[in-house]
């Protein structure tokens, strides 16, 4: 089972690599093959030289030539070793870059909710880990076929030419090693899994003593000794386990080694026999004897290093291969190929020509793969095409085809992305939402049965306790989450599973702090837009962002790359500027002032008042009083909207809002 899936995944990996860089992969294989040949040449040259010594009586000049040949063979082997490995390293980087890009694109297709599922998140993390390993794991089979197998076959042939029986020695040496590997795999997996939790605990207790998170408290409570005791208990247990494991391993190794040594003995015996019976020269004996270790070394390397490591890492690579959307993978493969060829052959072609070619190519590919492609894949390809391409594309087709295609295309494009009109109302009908909970079968609704109409231009405040569903509702309105039940529509456009590409902007509670320049930190919300410098400056001014914090718009922020460190409040303002920078008709502010002090908060709420004039806006807040800047207040409780009205209305009415308001008000009497 395991081996089968190993080989299968390996092949999938190779196919991916081949599609990304066909020439490079062929070159790589060729280099490995030459590398394998070079090692055999070494052995042959040694024998040739040794035979020369035995036969030669006093004639130096011929020996000199043989020595030089030998030197050349060795030098060749060294060079091939270097070139093949070096090329592998370089190619690895190229491949990793592309595999990463494919991952990014796949992730980009995911809905934001995917990151809330523990399982899905796990898959994503594993896939991300797998990115790096794709090359090494996938080339394992290539290496085995082109280097190791080649080497062994050549050596076998060489030994066969010396004496046919000798070629058996290859098999003799192989067997114990393979057996050993199998045994190891069978008997150590469970021991390893036994040790893992102990190690985890040990590490945790160490962290309790020395980790940043715990350091000051462990010190002040004076409970270091407590954790030291626990740590040492785990350490002893782990040591025992590991030593026990090692002893078992070595017991098996010992048996294997006895086998190996016997195999050696047999081979040497055969060699001696042939020398004694004069069927091989003593030079051949010395050469083969010298090569035996190397021979064995390769065997060991291929089985216990290459294969073992590949198997270990296969899991992550498998995750990666399974994770990446085949469509995205394929599409980027095309892209890379095109880029490759374009850069090599057609660097100077005009854009138009290029795009024509590109389309022809894609068509060809399509006709080839059409059978396998699913609709989804197609639509992905479609959507990513540029408009220009589209027109050229259409021009090339017959009318009939064209109309069909165009129809399909617009249809699909719509299915994928939504562009919102400039002004729209938001309507939620019977919206319910449950976060995925795989383990407990019961679905717990974060939102249940919400009906809501937000007319264009209204400022709405969402209030309620932690966990009442405010943020979830925001995410649904923002189009980040799809409702489990019910429908959301914007100005009559109903959203299914598609992505909204314009018209909505947001400042999230956990906004991001990008270690980029100040300007980039703001512009990142709308990178495709081509807005003037003035606009950027104006927005920063409005949000109270002072370029001097970073030493100018191009000044770096964040510690990561040695940028300026700004305070939480300053980050908050930058995040708000970011939200404003994106063209929006709907602005969502999710608890924008959680991290800042009173004065700063007052300032910002003043700003929000101004901000929300030209668009629809939704503000989530804990500070009930600050909800007063809103035209309308929605009070949420347990996933439902329990009250809806203006501040004045709600204060008059008995209910949740009033209770909360009074509670807070007391503090400020």
């Amino acid at each position: 089972m395991r081996h089968k899936s190993f080989i299968y995944n390996n092949l999938v990996g190779i196919r991916l690599l081949y599609r990304l860089f066909p020439q490079s992969i062929i070159l790589y294989s060729a280099l490995q093959m030459l590398h394998g040949v070079s090692w055999v040449l070494q052995v042959m040259s040694v024998q040739y030289f040794f035979d020369g010594i035995s036969e030669n009586q006093g004639e130096i000049s011929r020996l000199v030539i043989k020595i030089l040949l030998l030197g050349a063979a060795y030098a060749f082997a060294q060079i091939m070793n270097g070139v093949a490995n070096c090329y592998g390293q370089i190619l690895n980087r190229k491949v990793t870059k592309e595999t990463n890009k494919i991952l990014f694109r796949t992730l980009d297709q995911k809905e934001a909710i995917a990151f809330e599922y523990a399982d899905e998140l796990d898959r994503i993390n594993k896939a991300a880990c797998g990115c790096e390993g794709v090359f090494w794991v996938s080339t394992t089979i290539l290496d085995i076929v082109f280097f190791y197998v080649f080497y062994f076959v050549m050596m076998g042939w060489y030994l066969f030419s010396l004496a046919p029986v000798l070629s058996i020695s290859i098999v003799i040496i192989f067997i114990p090693n393979v057996v050993a590997r199998m045994l190891h795999m069978i008997s150590f997996e469970h021991l390893e899994s036994e040790a893992a939790p102990v190690r985890r605990k040990m590490d945790y207790y160490a962290d309790c003593i020395t980790g940043k998170e715990y350091y000051k408290e462990t010190r002040l409570w004076g409970c270091g000794k407590y954790f030291f005791d626990r740590y040492n208990r785990m350490l002893r247990k782990l040591n025992q386990l590991q030593f026990h494991m090692q002893v078992r391993k070595e017991k098996i190794n010992f048996c294997i080694n006895v086998l190996t040594v016997s195999a050696y003995g047999i081979i040497i015996g055969m060699l001696v026999y042939y020398v004694l019976t004069d069927s091989i020269s003593v030079g051949a004996f010395a050469a083969v004897f010298a090569a035996l270790r190397e021979f064995y070394g390769f065997m060991d390397e291929v089985i216990s290093e290459r294969l073992a490591i590949a198997m270990e890492n296969m899991a992550t690579v498998k995750n990666y291969l399974a994770f990446i959307d085949p469509a995205v993978g394929e599409e980027s493969v095309h892209r890379v190929q095109k880029e490759d060829k374009e850069s090599v052959h057609h660097g100077q072609k005009t854009d138009e020509e290029e795009s024509v070619r590109r389309i022809q190519k894609e068509d060809k590919e399509e006709s080839v793969h059409h059978g396998q492609k699913t609709d989804e894949e197609e639509s992905v390809c479609r959507v990513q095409k540029e408009d220009k391409e589209e027109s050229v594309h259409q021009a090339q087709k017959t009318d009939e085809e064209e109309s069909v295609r165009r129809y399909q295309k617009t249809d699909k494009e719509e299915a994928e992305q939504i562009k919102l009109p400039e002004r729209f109302e938001i309507r939620l009908e019977h919206v319910s939402f449950a976060y995925p909970q795989p383990e407990t079968g019961e679905r717990k609704y974060a939102l249940s049965d919400i009906d809501l109409l937000i007319p264009w231009g209204q400022t709405v405040a969402l209030v309620g306790e932690n966990g009442s569903g405010k943020s979830t509702l925001c995410h649904i309105i923002a189009g980040l989450y799809s409702p489990s039940e019910g429908a959301v529509s914007y100005g009559g456009v109903c959203r299914g599973g598609q992505r909204i590409v314009s018209g909505i902007s947001a400042v999230f509670q956990k906004f991001c702090r990008y270690s980029m320049s100040l300007g980039e930190n703001v512009r990142i919300s709308d990178l495709e837009a081509d807005k003037s410098e003035d606009r950027l400056n104006q927005i920063c001014r409005e949000a109270g962002v002072v370029p001097e914090w970073a030493g100018g718009m191009d000044g770096m922020l964040g510690r990561e790359f040695g940028g300026a460190e700004v305070s939480g409040g300053q980050w908050q303002r930058i995040a708000i500027a970011r939200g404003m920078y994106r063209n929006n008709s709907l602005l969502i502010l999710d608890e924008p002032t959680a991290a800042i002090d009173a004065l700063e908060e007052k300032y910002l709420y003043g700003e929000f008042g101004k901000l929300s004039r030209n668009c629809t806006s939704i503000i989530v807040t804990h500070r009930l009083a600050s909800a007063q800047i809103a035209d309308r207040i929605l009070v949420m409780k347990d996933g439902r909207i329990v009250q809806d009205g203006t501040h004045e209305e709600l204060v008059e009415a008995q209910g949740e809002y009033k209770a909360m308001y009074e509670l807070q008000r007391q503090w400020y009497r």
Partner: protein, 658 residues
């Protein structure tokens, strides 16, 4: 600061310590290294013997027993090479186990005793991590590198000695050629890390971008702002650039390494050529020549990787030892790991800051500048101020985490520096904003650090009063349920529950001084109010209420106080809660009686930026620009014209004016 007499941690001390810690293992490894070093020589001699005897028998009859001895030796070599690694593996495991037990404890003790400033300094942290992460492995690998080096040298020397025996002339010539070629090989193998820096920097950049494109933290903004495509382009550009740079480096690296091996090949060829005259003149037998060449060629094969490996290993060991030296030289806090030691009869009278100035290590600007104030033991205090005004720094100074401040801090008139650290630990208990969530049982989370004597009743009362009892009941094994994800059956609490647990830890402690350092950041205002209420109820009232004769009904002190002051009835919305409070009253009284000796009057400092919470303190200190700008009761401060407190308070209050 640093003890100047302390010898630098260098290779000699390293070796001495290794032989001290694991004499047997270290000796074994060295022995194997030396034996290994002689193998090529022995093999050369054995092959020589074999070849000579076979050739000598040409024409005559060759019998097996004639070549038995060299054959046995050859087989012996095979057995040695094949079997020894198993034994070595065992020694490896055992050595690392032993080193782990010794070194990890030693280094962790050091780590636990460090001055706190190192922990907050990212550079020191990185160094500590480098030193302490897998320390046993680093030490053992280092020692192996040393042995490998010795092996290589002995190996070459042993081979050389046979050559010399055979022909001094050739041997001398070989030495002459070897030295420069060997040096060349060594040098080219060494220059590896020059160009790297630029590429590394760019690499960090694009890896950061990769993080933005894949991780969870950025998921929402990524989807919202749709920047994946653009950022991926930037990623592509940067990684292309870095790849190109690294390809150059890689090529150079391999070129260096392989030119090193090519040099070795040339050397081998030269040696073979130089030995030819001796061969033809018969000084060197055919067999010995073949044997020598076999061994030399083997050496060449291994040399390129081996030499590079040893060079790399030596460089790593060197850098590591330097790190260790710096680490061991780090200053320790006296009594850092001491357990809290009780001061009998201690009562807080005053805490005074006198002209305290402080800046974080490596920073220019002062967080506190000439900060002076006096706190009376009979009152409860709140410290407010803008973000970054230095509120939390006060805690860190008082609790002795940082001690290189200027000025003085007095507790009951005695300088803080004159208290033993254990006493300070006993004196303070703190709930930090980022309080620790230990993955222990619920019970142990409260008991941890609070001595051994467990007072079950008192514990239960605290849990009850913090309204954690329902939470405990829901846990699978009650108080003994494991929290966190360390154990399989571990459960996690919500943010609010953890917060309460942290406060329970503080309440259970017998420390006379409590500091709450923004403990409610994770809660919403309502949850926050609840926590403060409860806190007030269980700490201040016990003392204050009795002392000041405010016989309050119990619970909801804050609310009632407000209600009384304002003459405004809010009972309506709280009638229910009041009812519950009454019930609690009973438990409370019992608690007071029970935990009398423990629940002594606690002196409390609240640090917060939520002004509403601050007013429940008797006095409020306003921290700004590194000093206390205002100090007084809420009423006094709220009345202060142009006062910062007033401004801050008004900014929040104005929303609530109807």
């Amino acid at each position: 600061m640093k003890n100047p007499e302390k010898p630098k941690y260098n290779i000699y001390i390293f070796l001495r310590e290794m032989t001290g810690m694991i004499p047997f293992h270290a000796g074994y490894l060295l022995l194997i290294a030396v034996l290994n070093a002689f193998l090529p020589t022995v093999q050369a001699l054995a092959i020589a013997e074999f070849v000579n005897r076979v050739e000598g028998a040409y024409g005559g009859v060759l019998e097996v027993r004639m070549i038995l001895l060299p054959l046995i030796i050859l087989l012996g070599i095979v057995i040695f090479k094949q079997m020894i690694p198993s034994a070595t593996n065992l020694v490896n495991a055992s050595a690392q186990n032993r080193l782990k037990a010794v070194l990890r404890n030693r280094f962790m003790r050091k780590q636990a005793a460090l001055q706190y400033r190192y922990i907050e300094d990212s550079e020191s942290c990185a160094l500590i991590y480098r030193v302490c992460h897998n320390v046993e492995n680093r030490f053992w690998t280092g020692y192996r590198t040393v042995c490998n080096g010795i092996e290589l040298v002995v190996k070459c020397a042993a081979l050389m000695s046979i050559v010399m025996q055979a022909s001094i002339l050739s041997g001398g010539a070989i030495l002459l050629v070897s030295v420069p070629l060997f040096t060349l090989a060594y040098k080219t193998g060494r220059q590896n890390y020059v160009l790297q820096k630029d590429a590394v920097e760019v690499k960090r950049r694009y890896q950061y971008l990769a993080g933005i494109l894949t991780d969870r933290d950025h998921a929402k903004e990524r989807a919202m702002f749709g920047y994946s495509g653009q950022i991926a382009k930037e990623y592509d550009r940067l990684s292309e650039y870095a790849n190109r740079k690294e390809a150059v480096i890689e090529k150079k690296r391999y070129a260096n390494m392989k030119s090193g091996s090519l040099t070795m090949v040339v050397l081998a060829v030269i040696i073979m050529l130089l030995l030819l005259p001796a061969l033809s003149s018969g000084k060197l037998s055919n067999g010995l020549y073949v044997g020598l060449v076999t061994s030399i060629l083997n050496l060449v094969q291994g040399m390129s990787w081996n030499l590079a490996g040893i060079m790399q290993g030596a460089a790593d060991l060197n850098a590591y030892l330097h790190d260790v030296d710096v680490f061991l030289g780090m200053e320790e806090k006296e009594d850092a790991v001491a357990e809290p030691s009780r001061i009998p009869g201690f009562q807080v009278e005053t805490i005074e800051f006198r002209k305290v100035s402080f800046r974080y290590p490596g920073r220019e600007e002062y967080v506190l500048k000439d900060c002076s104030f006096v706190l009376q033991g009979s009152k409860c205090y709140a410290v407010v101020g803008k973000n970054g005004a230095g509120k939390s720094t006060l805690t860190k100074l008082m609790t002795g985490l940082y001690e290189d401040y200027e000025g003085h801090i007095f507790i009951n008139g005695k300088d803080l520096r004159d208290y033993r650290y254990g006493e300070l630990k006993w004196m303070f208990s703190v709930v930090f904003q980022d309080f620790a969530r230990y993955a222990l049982s619920f019970r142990d989370n409260i008991l941890v650090g609070n001595g051994k004597d467990e007072n079950e009743r008192f514990l239960e009362q605290i849990i009850e009063r913090l309204e954690l009892d329902s939470c405990v009941q829901e846990l699978p094994r009650g108080l003994d349920s494991q929290l966190g994800k360390l154990e399989k059956d571990g459960v996690d609490l919500s943010g609010g529950q953890w917060q309460k647990l942290a406060i329970a830890r503080l309440l259970y402690s017998e420390a006379p001084i409590n500091i709450l350092d923004e403990p409610t950041a994770a809660l919403d205002p309502r949850g926050e109010a609840k926590v403060y209420e409860m806190f007030r109820r269980v700490t201040m009232d016990e003392g204050d209420a009795v002392e000041e004769g405010h016989v309050m009904e119990e619970g909801h002190a804050m609310e009632e106080e407000c209600a009384m002051k304002e003459g405004h009835a809010v009972e309506e919305s709280h009638a229910m809660e009041e009812g519950r409070a009454m019930e609690e009253g009973h438990a409370m009284e019992e608690g007071c009686a029970m935990g009398e000796e423990r629940a002594m009057k606690k002196f409390t400092i609240l640090i917060t930026h939520r002004l509403g919470a601050a007013r429940m303190a008797d006095e409020i200190l306003v921290l700004d620009q590194g000093r206390i700008m205002e100090q007084g009761t809420h009423e006094a401060l709220a009345g202060l014209e142009n006062g910062l407190y007033k401004e801050m308070f008004e900014s929040q209050r104005c929303w609530y004016e109807t």
